[in-house]
């Protein structure tokens, strides 16, 4: 059954698209129907996972997943999953989306949906640990079990935390609308804190490294870049992205073949991720350029960045001269 030119799945496609579909459907349905958005995303993944093994990967897997989730959401609303008079309005809202084509304009609008979802997950009425768990679940596409593994918690504890947070979102009517100008700065700080907690949760050193931990670091980095590319960009956002990129660059060298941790000075630097180092530098430069502007002082400590061996390597010009112990 060899097929030439058959499509290949992008790495982490299912997880990424889960997050995007939830953000997108919640945007259409409103935050009161988060559960339906999540169910629809899960159903799309389930159907893909059970039909693609036989039929192969469709030409446009992303569009396939979006269309399947969308159909499921519409048929659920019609079946009466939503017990109120608003069902018809929801169908209308869902039907505003007709074109299953993910073009450039759609990409931008999906990024906006994701940003709004992150900002809602970081609402001050939600406890910090709930903010992190919600962001990983709704935006990151991580499962309850995976989040539990990342934070060394019981899945039931995380499940409860998520249920409570979603109930609070419903009861307090927290919406996906961006905070007003007066509250935006504060919310941005909360978002940056959650992104950093997410990153450090994944980065926390321990033996027997789990791939999922590395994935969480990269997801935090992705969210940081999402914020940095938006209208809310600020030097402290760039500084956080730089910090995460430079630390994440060392992840491949952090454990040896048996899974034991390797001290920084003993790490094989050839394993450091050059792309992430370059990314870290560019954001570092951006944050420095930004802090020189009148109102852009970075509130994130740049100290750890200055200690980053990559920075020293660049300023000194030779890797072997770098002798940091951070």
């Amino acid at each position: 059954m060899q097929e030439s030119g058959s499509p290949v799945l992008l790495e982490h496609l299912f997880r990424r698209e889960s997050g995007r579909i939830v953000a997108w459907l919640a945007g259409l349905l409103g935050s009161a129907h988060l559960q339906l958005a999540e169910d629809a995303a899960q159903e799309a993944m389930l159907r893909a996972a059970q039909s693609w093994p036989f039929e192969g990967i469709p030409q446009n897997p992303e569009a396939w997943l979006f269309r399947t989730a969308h159909n499921y959401a519409i048929s659920s609303v019609r079946r009466g999953v939503v017990f109120n008079s608003k069902a018809e309005a929801l169908v209308v809202a869902l039907e505003t989306w007709v074109q299953p084509v993910l073009d450039l304009g759609a990409e931008q609008s999906l990024r906006d949906d994701e940003l709004r979802m992150v900002f809602m997950c970081c609402h001050p009425k939600l406890a910090p640990d709930a903010q992190v768990a919600l962001s990983l679940k709704l935006v990151g596409g991580f499962s309850t079990e995976e989040i539990a593994r990342i934070f060394f918690s019981e899945p039931s504890t995380i499940a409860q935390r998520l249920v409570r947070a979603k109930r609070l979102i419903r009861e307090q009517n927290l919406t996906l609308a961006m905070p007003s100008k007066a509250h935006l700065e504060q919310r941005l700080n909360s978002v940056l804190k959650v992104i950093y907690l997410m990153f450090s949760g994944g980065y926390a050193a321990h033996s027997g490294e789990d791939l999922i931990r590395c994935d969480v670091c990269l997801e935090a980095l992705r969210l940081g870049r999402l914020v940095a590319a938006s209208s809310m960009s600020a030097p402290r956002v760039d500084a956080l992205v730089a910090l995460m990129a430079l630390q994440a660059a060392r992840l491949p060298a952090r454990t040896d073949t048996t899974g034991d941790l390797v001290l920084l000075e003993e790490q094989d630097r050839k394993l450091w991720d050059e792309d992430l180092i370059a990314l870290g530098f560019s954001y570092f430069d951006r944050s420095i350029a930004g802090t020189r502007s009148p109102n852009g002082m970075s509130r994130l400590p740049l100290h750890p960045l200055m200690q980053a061996p990559q920075i020293q390597r660049r300023s000194i010009g030779h890797p072997s001269l770098s002798t940091t112990t951070s």
């Binding site: 059970q50 039909s51 093994p53 990967i57 499962s143 079990e145 995976e146």
Partner: protein, 113 residues
């Protein structure tokens, strides 16, 4: 060489326990297996109730599934070539289906003229 049909019954509840990431890993393993040279055909089945036709009095009755008591639904089938049942079983062990349902293996009958 004989042909064997592998009927893949899926356990929906087991699938639901997987994270999106785990589902993708499964899909990739299924597809890697499906591209092996001994796999000659395969098709997925639509996940609905299907229809069952039975004799009823002088006519027939047509009902919707389920076909059995089990919560498993048939997700699809593959046809493979193998020397005997032992080999057919051995080749099937690489399908990442264990834990997500059962695989029923049946040899395709061939009449020798």
């Amino acid at each position: 060489m004989s042909q064997y049909v592998l009927l893949l019954h899926s356990d929906g509840e087991a699938w639901k326990k997987l994270s999106p990431e785990e589902m993708q890993q499964k899909v990739e393993k299924y597809l890697a297996w499906r591209n092996k040279p001994f796999v000659v055909a395969g098709a997925g089945l639509v996940r609905d109730t299907g229809r069952v036709i039975r004799a009823k009095g002088d006519g027939v009755s047509v009902t919707e599934g389920p076909f059995s008591e089990s919560a498993e639904v048939m997700g699809g089938f593959y046809t493979i070539e193998a020397a005997d049942y032992d080999e057919a079983v051995k080749l099937s062990l690489d399908i990442p289906h264990i834990g997500l349902g059962t695989i029923e293996i049946r040899q395709v009958m061939v009449y020798n003229a």
